[in-house]
Every structure is written in C-alpha cells, then in structure tokens.
C-alpha cells in the first residue's frame, strides 16, 4: 500500500480553479519532487494534504486512512511534517521553543499536569528538551538554542524549520522550496542533508522545488504541474527533455 495516495484532487478558491485532477502514489521511502511554474498550485496541494483547506473534490489517503476533513493538527499527528516556502518560525520564541512546540501532537500530559508541575509533566518535559536539542544538534544550530529565532541568519532559520518539522516524528516529510534563497554552498549541503535525513529518520520525502540542481540531484522521480493540472511525470532525465515541461516554463516557441 502506498504511504500517500492522492486521487482526483481538485480544488476551487471561489471561482478560481487552483488544482485539477492531481494524482499521486507515494511509496514508503521514496524521494519525489513536485515542480511547476510559479502559481501552478504546488503549495496549494501541500496545503490540501495538510488539511489547511478542504479539497473541493478528490481523495487523500495516508497509510490507508482518509485525510480529507481532518484538521491540520490531526494530519500532523498521523505523521506528516512540513516546512514552508516563506519561513514560518515563531519569531519571538527561542529556537529551542520552536522545536519543542512541535512535540504538541505527541504530548501525553494535560493542563492539570502542566499547571501543577507533576512528575509526569516534568519527565515528559525533560524528554522533549532532550529530543529537541538532539535535533538542533543534527542541524548544527544547537548553540543558538536560547536565541530568539528571528535573530538567526536565513540559512540557520531554514535549518531550524527542518528540525521543527522532524520533531513531529513524521513518516512523510513535505519540503516546500527548501533551497529558496540559498547560496550554492548551502545548496550543496542540502543535497547531502535530505537523503541523509531520509535514511536517518526512515522518511518518505516529497519536495516542491524550483532549483533544478536540487530536483535533478536528489529526486528519484518528478511530477510537473501547470495551472493546477499535472502535465508530466517521470525520472529527472525524462522530465528535462519533455517538451510540455519546457513550454510550461519557457513558453511556446514563436515560429
């Protein structure tokens, strides 16, 4: 059974058709890419999977269970983690807090425990902090743990966001343009990091990206959408040569 199965996903924003007839079968352990020109609907698809919007039509099955109608925190609890196109860290909170909060879906203690600082709460808090620091360490930002996240450099913030996404203990990781704004050195690091993360955390990874280097470098297969509709799918080599894809990005050739 594929880990994520999307069939006939269609979504309208009022009268605007943002996504139309999108399908996907994502097997466990795969590293798949989603590309398309700006405004094609890629982030919208992520948002639909995460439960931010309820699709007008279509089915989204994660591990066999239907995600449609679930609220985002429920989707996250089932094992989907995500980063954002424009970094959405909680600016006035520390780096450590940003990652700690992502453990909410795994919390077992309640308000009463928190307010009374019971042993149960204390034990879980220690565990949360330990895990969070471990993750920050992997991403090389552990030394900034007590700093406000808004004070970090752009690249560091991106890494904190990824640490945060991993803190939810996902089976599926959604990366929305992780290479945006990165310089070539950072992109090289990313090219090593993503496969490493996949192996280390037994993840399935679905990436939206614009940077061809990243897409061609790490994706096993790629889907292309334009104006909300799928127009091509295949291996990186196949996609690079596909005329429809070229047209979508560069426009029709003038005779």
């Amino acid at each position: 059974m594929p880990l994520l199965q999307i069939s006939g996903l269609t979504h309208f924003f009022g009268g605007l058709r943002a996504v139309h007839g999108f399908d996907l079968k994502l097997e466990e352990g795969e590293l798949v890419g989603l590309i398309g020109p700006n405004g094609a609907g890629k982030t919208t698809i992520f948002n639909l999977v995460c439960g931010v919007y309820k699709p007008t039509q279509g089915e989204i099955l994660f591990n066999g269970t239907n995600l449609v109608g679930c609220r985002p925190h429920q989707v996250t609890a089932r094992g989907i983690g995500r980063t954002f196109q424009n970094i959405r860290l909680w600016d006035q909170l520390t780096v450590l807090d940003n990652v700690r909060i992502a453990r909410h879906s795994k919390l077992r203690y309640g308000v009463a425990d928190s307010v009374l600082r019971t042993k149960r709460c204390q034990r879980e808090e220690e565990d949360i902090e330990r895990r969070a620091m471990e993750l920050l360490d992997i991403f090389g930002v552990a030394s900034h743990a007590q700093e406000l996240s808004k004070n970090l450099s752009y690249g560091e913030q991106r890494r904190v966001e990824m640490a945060r996404a991993l803190a939810v203990e996902p089976r599926l990781l959604l990366l929305d343009e992780p290479a945006a704004g990165m310089n070539p050195g950072e992109i090289d690091q990313l090219l090593e990091l993503v496969p490493f993360l996949r192996k280390q955390f037994s993840l399935t990874v679905w990436i939206i990206e614009h940077q061809m280097q990243v897409i061609m470098g790490i994706c096993e297969r790629i889907q292309v959408i334009d104006f909300g509709e799928p127009i091509a799918a295949g291996t990186p080599i196949e996609i690079q040569a596909n005329p429809r894809v070229i047209e979508a990005y560069l426009g029709k050739e003038v005779a």
Binding site: P72, H73, T76, I101, H104, Y109, S114, E125
Partner: protein, 349 residues
C-alpha cells in the same frame, strides 16, 4: 541557602504583610490597599495570559470577575449568614474558615464555565471577534445581574462582611488578606508553570503564527479554549475575594466596562507576555489610583493622559515581553539556584 531563596522571599512577604496586619502595625487603610493590589495582580496576570501570551483581545474581564464575585458571595451568605433572601445560615460559622477557599474555587469554576460558553463561538474565527464578544458578554453579565432582583439587582448584594467579621471572631486573623495572598501565589504559580511548559508555549505559538502552530500539531482550538477558561477562572477567583471586601457589598456597576478597561490598562502597562511586568504594573497602578484619589474626577483625566504619553514613548510597557529575571540576571541566580545555574555558579552569593 540559595535553594530556598524563593520560598524565603514569599515567607518574608507573608510575614510583613499578614503579620503586620495582624499585629495592627499596618492600619486598615494600608490593608485595604494591599488587598486591592492583590486583586489587581490576579486580574492582571490572568488577563495577560489571553491578551499578552495568546495575543487575543479580550475586553470583558470584569464580567468574569462578576460571575466569581456573585457566586462566591451568594454561597458565603447562603451558608453562613442570616439573610433576608436565604434565611438562616446553614452551617455554623466555624466551618467558614476551611470552606472559604472551596467557595472561592467554586466561584472560579463558575467563571471558567462562562468563559467556556464564550470561547467556543469566539474562537471559530480569528481577528477582533473576541473583542466584540467579550464586550457584549460584559454587558450581558452586568445587565443580567442588574435584572436579578432576588440578589439585589442594581442595589447590590450584601452580607459578606458579616461572615468575614464572624470568621474573625472565631479566630482573630486578617483572613481576607491571608486568602488574597494565597490566591496571588497560586495564580502566579499556575500561570508560570503553564506558560513555561511545552503545552503553554503552544499559546505563544498561536500568537506568533496560528496557522503554522496548527500545522505543527498544536490543537489550536482546544488550546485557545483552555487558556481562556484558565484566565476567566482566575478572574473569578479575584472576584470571589473582592466580594468579601471590607465595604461589605457588591453591585453590578463595579464590574462594568471601566473595570475591564482598568485591567487592560494594567496589562499593557506591564508589558504583554510578562508575568513580572503584570505584577509590577498592578502594584504601581493600584498605588497610583489611591494616590490620585484626592483628585476625584480628575483622576481619570490624568490616568488616560499618562497612559497615552506612555504609549507614545514606551509602547511595549514596563517590561515588554521580558521577565524580571531576564533583565536582572543576578535575580535569576537567586531564584533558580537549585536547577539551572549549576554550571555557572556565580562567585558571590
């Protein structure tokens, strides 16, 4: 020695205020001001949870105070006093001392339940709707109480003072102040524990970016409701204590919009998202109000002016979003000596 610093400070304050009152060193007026300070601390810290930490805009805090005040006041009178409405007391006065905290807690729970009623529709949408709804609820609560002739309506409800005096007869101690002190400590501990836990941090995440919080696994709806209920419950606690003030009566107008506005002023004055800021500003503001009392009506001309000026020159309030321990690091070593400072023990005590 360091390990016990914080409890020592608390005990010290207790001895000063309660002991001083008991022994008559602090006169009735000072005791009253201390009482007001205490009530305002609880109100401010609890409202800060919603307006500061969660970034919402609740403007009807006095409404929940009213619920707590009337529920607790009525219970006290019903149980312990001879009253035109409820008849003879049900329990002997000796029970009043141990039962008083229970009565206060019942008042809090009532206020929290009213908060629950409001939270559910308000938090369906983001934006300024909580402001509007909390405003309307403040009006509704005051209006409802005004219409309940059986508990005094607009004339007010009396009887609590007799009970407090009788408690004093059983065992002579400044009971009101004692319970206020306990209430303050409880409030601060509850709020501090909550906001420093991961569960409580979710509240701030909601303020910073609610959608991201939801996507990262925070059940925003439930968190918002729980936080609001906690805040309202504590306002009810303050109300319950307030109902037993030496003046001896409560009426609906005491809990009207102006009261809510006072609490909002204290929250913003202290700095949103800072417990120590709320405490400091509650103390300062209460004292300022008392100090300006001779000005009569001009009091409320001076205060808004001061506030507007302060808004223009220091809009983040006294503490902004930092705590006292962030600004005075040595205070931190004093208070958290046992746990976090092990590795960098300062040279001097």
């Amino acid at each position: 020695m360091r390990r016990h610093s914080l409890p020592l400070i608390v005990v010290g304050l207790f001895v000063l205020t309660i002991g001083g009152s008991w022994l008559g060193i602090l006169d009735a007026y000072v005791q009253l001001v201390l009482f007001y300070v205490g009530i305002n601390i609880i109100l401010t810290v609890s409202l800060n949870l919603v307006n500061g930490y969660m970034g919402e805009f609740s403007c009807g805090h006095a409404g929940f105070m009213a619920v707590g005040a009337y529920v607790s006041g009525i219970l006290t009178v019903w149980l312990f006093a001879e009253d035109s409405v409820f008849g003879l007391p049900i329990l002997p006065i000796g029970w009043a001392i141990p039962l008083f905290p229970i009565i206060l807690i019942i008042g809090s729970i009532a206020a929290a339940l009213v908060g629950l009623l409001i939270a559910i529709p308000s938090f369906r949408t983001r934006g300024d709707y909580l402001a509007i709804i909390s405003l309307a609820v403040n009006y509704i609560v005051v209006s409802a109480i005004t219409n309940m002739e059986v508990i005094g309506g607009s004339r007010g409800f009396v009887g609590m003072k007799r009970v407090m005096n009788a408690m004093g007869d059983v065992f002579d101690a400044p009971w009101l102040l004692i319970w206020t002190f306990v209430g303050i400590i409880a409030t601060i501990l509850i709020i501090h524990n909550f906001v420093s836990s991961t569960l409580g941090k979710g509240v701030e995440a909601i303020r910073e970016d609610e959608i991201a919080a939801e996507i990262m696994g925070v059940n925003t709806r439930r968190t918002k409701v729980m936080t609001f209920m906690l805040s309202c419950g504590l306002a009810g606690l303050a109300g319950g204590m307030f109902a037993h003030w030496p003046g001896g009566y409560i009426n609906p107008l005491m809990f009207f919009i102006l009261r809510s506005t006072e609490v909002m002023v204290m929250v913003y004055l202290g700095g949103m998202g800072s417990i120590s800021g709320s405490i400091i500003s509650a103390i300062l503001f209460t004292v300022l109000l008392e100090w300006l009392r001779p000005l009569g009506v001009f009091k409320w001309v001076v205060i808004p002016l001061l506030f507007i000026v302060m808004m223009l020159y220091r809009p983040q309030g006294i503490m902004g979003s930092s705590e006292l321990t962030d600004v005075l690091p040595r205070l931190q070593t004093l208070l958290r000596a046992d746990k976090e400072v092990k590795d960098n023990a300062p040279a001097s005590d």
